[in-house]
Symmetry: C2
Subunit: 339 residues, 2 copies
Amino acid sequence: MGGDHGAVEVVPGALAYARAHPEDTILLVGDEAVLAGFLADRPANVRTVHASQVVEMHEHPAIALREKKDATILVAMDLVRKGEADAVVTAGHTGAGMAAAVLRLGRLRGVDRPALAVQMVGTENPFVLLDIGANPDSTPENLAQYARMGAIFSERVLGVDRPRVALLSIGEEKGKGDARIARATELLDATDLNFIGNVEGKDLTQFSADVVVCDAVLGNVVIKFFEGLSGYIFDLLKAEFAGSIRGRLAYLLMRPGIRRIRTVFDYEVVGGSPLLGVRGSVIITHGRAKRRMIEHAVRVGATTARERVPERIAEALGAAARNAGPETAGEASTPEAGV
Amino acid sequence: MGGDHGAVEVVPGALAYARAHPEDTILLVGDEAVLAGFLADRPANVRTVHASQVVEMHEHPAIALREKKDATILVAMDLVRKGEADAVVTAGHTGAGMAAAVLRLGRLRGVDRPALAVQMVGTENPFVLLDIGANPDSTPENLAQYARMGAIFSERVLGVDRPRVALLSIGEEKGKGDARIARATELLDATDLNFIGNVEGKDLTQFSADVVVCDAVLGNVVIKFFEGLSGYIFDLLKAEFAGSIRGRLAYLLMRPGIRRIRTVFDYEVVGGSPLLGVRGSVIITHGRAKRRMIEHAVRVGATTARERVPERIAEALGAAARNAGPETAGEASTPEAGV
């Protein structure tokens, strides 16, 4: 029900995934009366789970989750907690999604703080940037954990072999930056990760690393600036195209190319942002996600669950977590995604 | 002599300013034998000051400044220190420029740390972003000082009346972000500045504030990401234009428009970055600055000196600084810029 478009885009996106993946089951969580309107030709592997309430985009997450006990996001998280689903995918309120995950699923053992990661556009493959907003005031130890979690996601979900891990900082020289970055560099140097030191802001479009780690304030500013700046440049272009006959003619010629570029930006950057470090596979996609992006986010969620990313994080970060790993990350070969 | 292009671009840019501003005097600091080659038709208000050495872009600033006592950047700073020039403009090594300024001019009284500011592109006028790289590990008190310095620059040099000052953070809600931002919010709320709270990454192209304040790591990542991302988008466009006959035709039609957009980006973002908080007017422009950007940077330097920005910062930040203000910020109506 969530996101800027609600069921109108979320349901068709989920159905598209379901049709392409008959081995998986999709659970649509929401008002069944509303959902029914979009399910005229539902595939056999799509079910609905009723939830009567929705956290609206303007609401304060903590308050909304306290007051709306039957909110879709809570019902979906509970499906994962009870082992009835393997992953949650949401286009709804990001803060509510993160809060509901921590509230209902909890942190993995050994993880001090979850981190929200994003797949970001680059000159080659997308890379993983985290934390983009789960928790500010991270410590060097937090950053080192983010690096480990991001590397597992990169390896297992994006298929990168020995992902290059870097810290986002002010200079390329290893350890350069502030005190937090200097200390995180020491911690990461002592791990078996493929840690390559710092990347700078200009490297973010150069595919210089597969996993880029930073504090939430930095990551959040980067990702929102990315959206703002790319949108701004496309707006300037649009004005030039629309502003003259020459421009309108040029646009007719260039339309496929412009579309290709826009798609790269819309799709990769926000296609599926995993909340790493909680006991389950949770994908938070963009509020403005349309069906294609929703389908992509469901795929990321299914892969995250199938590849047992949460369990691998628990194994890597807490020896004690092995026996208490997330129920979601069992041997199931048919992830069920609560959208 | 500095920057990617050296005297080839720096001298013509400075001469263009000199011709347009006969009331000001330009001092060109560098190897006089080299400079002579570019001064065939020098205006009467242009002089040269010999310096035999240059800090190269790859050198470590502290080491280079220790070993090259006759480096152009040191000679230029000394001209300001001795009252023989009113502003320094450099396209050379940014780190060396900042270090030389602190070394030879010193901090203004009441200023704990200088900050490097940049004028950044926006949907309307450029706004001021600082610190973009002078000093990481800023305290809330440092951020509050940056806000004051940036507001003075915005008001005096960019002509903004009661500039809106904001902190760059993770959410729009006032005080939201990390502990440093929360405390800086309290400090700024207690000032008479026109403090409007937070701006987010997406607001950076929306002209939501006139002065945007952040720690050096964040500011540096933003400004370098800005360059990297805008360059990346233009590269994608170029590839689309070049990749087909339709594209090449479209490019012919759109060339003036594309140029206009590129100019906005090249020019405004890096036209003239003041190092605020030192005892003198110091403008550090981009290494890749060409003559038009150099001319703009000289103009920013002259205005900064003429408007007595350093002295006003000292007045605002340290009562004791009034009598010990920078010599450069006297009553002089004819700034001399050491380029």
